[in-house]
Amino acid sequence: IVKAQAPIRWRFQTYAGAALGEQVTKPIIDYINAAAQGELEIELFYADQIVPTGELFQALQRGTIDGVHSDDDSMASPTPLRVFGGYFPFATKHILDVPVLFNQYGLADIWREEYAKVGVQWLSAAGQDPCNFNTTKEITSVDDLDGLRLYTFPTAGRFLAKFGVVSVNIPYEDAEVAVQTGELDGMAWSGITEDYTVGWADVTDYFLTNNISGAWIGSFFVNQERWAELPDHLKQLVMASIEAGHTYRNQWYWGGEARLRAQGDKLALRSVPADEWAVVEDAAKEFWNEIAEESETHAKIVQIFRDYNEVINQAGPPYNFE
């Protein structure tokens, strides 16, 4: 009788709190645990459970945490890719733009390379929901943004500062309470599906249909040594499970955004007219130029975004909105 080998155990932490993690991360971990038949056991932890999100990346590099699901921005990635994670303003229109950019336009290679330099194995990126606003105060014009205190991503916050938004960064799970303690006027963090799932729809009143980016960019990472130790068939299994998770998430968000805008009863929809919102889009072009000047890698990635946006703008709807 061959004695079963001791399972490989990973500690995996996601940027998401428990309610959202249930949809965006847990399905993948469940697939892996079920299919690995005890050879690989991954324990999932939610936002800030073992290490605070701001320290997540160092913890991954050191091996305190073995795997991570997060965007490059909020996990304080030490690479030039940091600004492009989360919501890079107006880089994408739809959830599917993200895998296309990574797999057809070369972002995957850049990501893999940059993370290898800092001792981390980048596995896969995917899109999620757009970056809309849910707030306690009504937004009907760009001027209404002035003075709002919003929970948002660092890069998005830096961009929105141009319109007087004060971004506040606190632990993910504290955001809901922070609206009630008056620390926040709302969030520029997600689409409407997340607002309802996380509970933010219970503490804010309005949802702005205009967004500052069409899809969140986030990735799966593993500590380099842990990845190297993994037998090939388990590597395949992990990758396939992540892909399956992407598919599930694509549907969950795409369906949720439509249904909750149309039928949700907790948030009143508001919109800024498209021609007025164009001011924000134009500011993003400026912002891209600023970012491109920061380094060669920055410039290269911004150029890829430019190229891709040119393609979809030529293609017209449904790829863009005009």
């Binding site: 500690r11 324990e43 932890f45 800030d48 459970q49 073992i50 290490v51 605070p52 701001g54 320290e55 160092q58 913890a59 050191r62 091996g63 305190t64 073995d66 606190i170 632990p171 799970e173 504290d174 809901e176 309470v177 922070a178 009630q180 303690t181 008056g182 620390e183 503490v203």
Partner: protein, 441 residues
């Protein structure tokens, strides 16, 4: 070793180490970092202690902690509560046990001005206690009154304990504070009821104040009543901007601290000594809390990493298959038991994260549970061998009050508190009605 075993081992090691009388934060921190190092040493287990410090930095509501502590010290050290006490003295003195009743009233007002029980204890022990003893009140009665009354500080808003609970349970602080109002007043009423009944049965415990002490003239009586407006003013300066959304919670706490400070200055009570004591003790108490929370956060992270939360949930719900209410009652009993010998801050940061998700899963309201938790903390403050109020009382009480008196004095009041706990359990509306009215849900 199975993870449940490691978790149990960690917990019992910590308990044993606490028995040696070492500093609480050292015991908790040592067990936490050693466990992390032994479990995950080769994979960066050494950094959990420090990453807890980074986590703690981001817990913004803790900024209220030094503010409320400072506020409490300013109030007690500057003796601006003296007038308040005189007010109750004159107005309630005619009743049997009236001074004790008045002391509870004083404690309620002091509670509305600060977030901990320390200020109440200090004010009670320095102003009320000598006065009550001089008037021939039973020493056990008054010792108990002051300990029990001051514990209202964490139930009547503002409350630091509820801020900490809000952080852990992810519940809105505003609603939790409001939820504490009715149970807090109810508990004060129960204390008063107990005092009045007891003194009716045994008049020697709380003699009526001689008439010449009470007859100060109508004008003076009204002037003293106005002294009661002072805490209301401080309370309003802090709460009105907060409830209206003009300032955030932490900003409001700073406004409260500054207001109390300015009031003391305006009344000419902010002497060099008062200033020095307030500033120095604020640092001391804040450090005590923060270092315990820092250690307990690391402990909690290791516990989490072991999956202890899931293990406890599985034990209660699946393996034992108990009725939710039975589980809830068991949890409260275990809290009270742990509260006798564990620091309540550590209890909150280590044990509450295990219990709170379970309470939520069982379908109970977490705001309501926050009030149950706080009442349990109040009990823990007073039950020997480990209780802040016990320590403070021992430090502040005059020599004729022995340790035996202090321990003996709490029994009836703890029973009253258990009564209040049961009432809030049976009638959740006591806690949930007011936040429901204000926040409209």
């Amino acid at each position: 070793m199975p993870y449940e075993m490691i978790a149990a081992l960690m917990f019992s090691t910590m308990m044993l180490m606490l028995l040696t009388g070492q500093r609480v934060f050292g015991a908790i921190g040592f067990v936490a970092v050693m466990a992390a190092l032994l479990l995950w040493g080769d994979r960066g287990g050494y950094d959990l202690g420090f990453s807890a410090a980074m986590k703690l930095m981001k817990w913004y509501p803790l900024l209220t902690l030094p503010m409320f502590i400072f506020m409490g010290y300013v109030l007690s050290e500057s003796r601006i509560a003296d007038d308040l006490y005189r007010m109750f003295h004159v107005w309630m003195g005619g009743l049997r046990g009236g001074l004790a009743v008045g002391t509870i009233g004083l404690m309620v007002l002091v509670s509305a001005m600060n977030g901990l029980s320390v200020a109440g204890m200090a004010i009670g022990a320095t102003i009320a206690l000598p006065e009550l003893l001089k008037r021939g009140y039973d020493k056990r009665m008054v010792t108990g009154v002051i300990q029990a009354g001051s514990s209202l500080g964490i139930l009547v808003p503002p409350s630091v304990v509820l801020v900490l609970y809000a952080m852990i349970a992810r519940q809105p602080v505003g609603q939790l504070w409001l939820a504490g109002v009715v149970p807090g007043l109810m508990m004060a009423a129960l204390f008063i009821l107990y005092i009045v009944v007891r003194c009716r049965l045994q008049p020697e415990l709380g003699p009526v104040l001689p008439a010449e002490d009470r007859d100060v003239g109508r004008a003076e009586k009204l002037r003293l009543l106005r002294a009661g407006l002072l805490p209301l003013g401080i309370f309003a300066a802090m709460m009105v901007p907060f409830v209206n959304g003009w300032t955030s919670l932490v900003e409001s706490s700073a406004i409260g601290a500054i207001t109390a400070f300015l009031v003391a200055v305006a009344k000419g009570r902010m002497t060099r000594d008062v200033f020095e004591t307030s500033v120095r003790n604020t640092l001391g108490i804040t450090c005590m809390f923060m270092w315990i929370i820092l250690a307990a956060l690391a402990f909690g992270a290791v516990f989490d990493g072991l999956g202890a939360v899931k293990a406890i949930e599985a034990l209660f719900t699946e393996r034992l298959g108990l009725n939710p209410w039975v589980i809830l009652i068991l949890m409260q009993l275990s809290f009270i038991l742990m509260g006798t010998f564990l620091d309540d801050t550590a209890m909150l940061v280590i044990v509450a994260p295990l219990y709170v998700p379970l309470v939520g899963q069982l379908g109970f309201d977490l705001v309501w549970y926050g009030i149950l938790y706080t009442i349990t903390c109040q009990i823990a403050y007073m039950t020997p061998p480990f209780g802040y109020n016990l320590f403070l009382m021992r430090a502040m009480a005059p020599p004729e009050i022995t340790l035996r008196d202090i321990y003996g004095s709490i029994t009836p009041f703890v029973l009253v508190m258990v009564c209040a706990l049961v009432l809030v359990m049976v009638f959740p509306g006591l806690a949930l009605w007011l936040p429901g009215v204000v926040y409209g849900n």
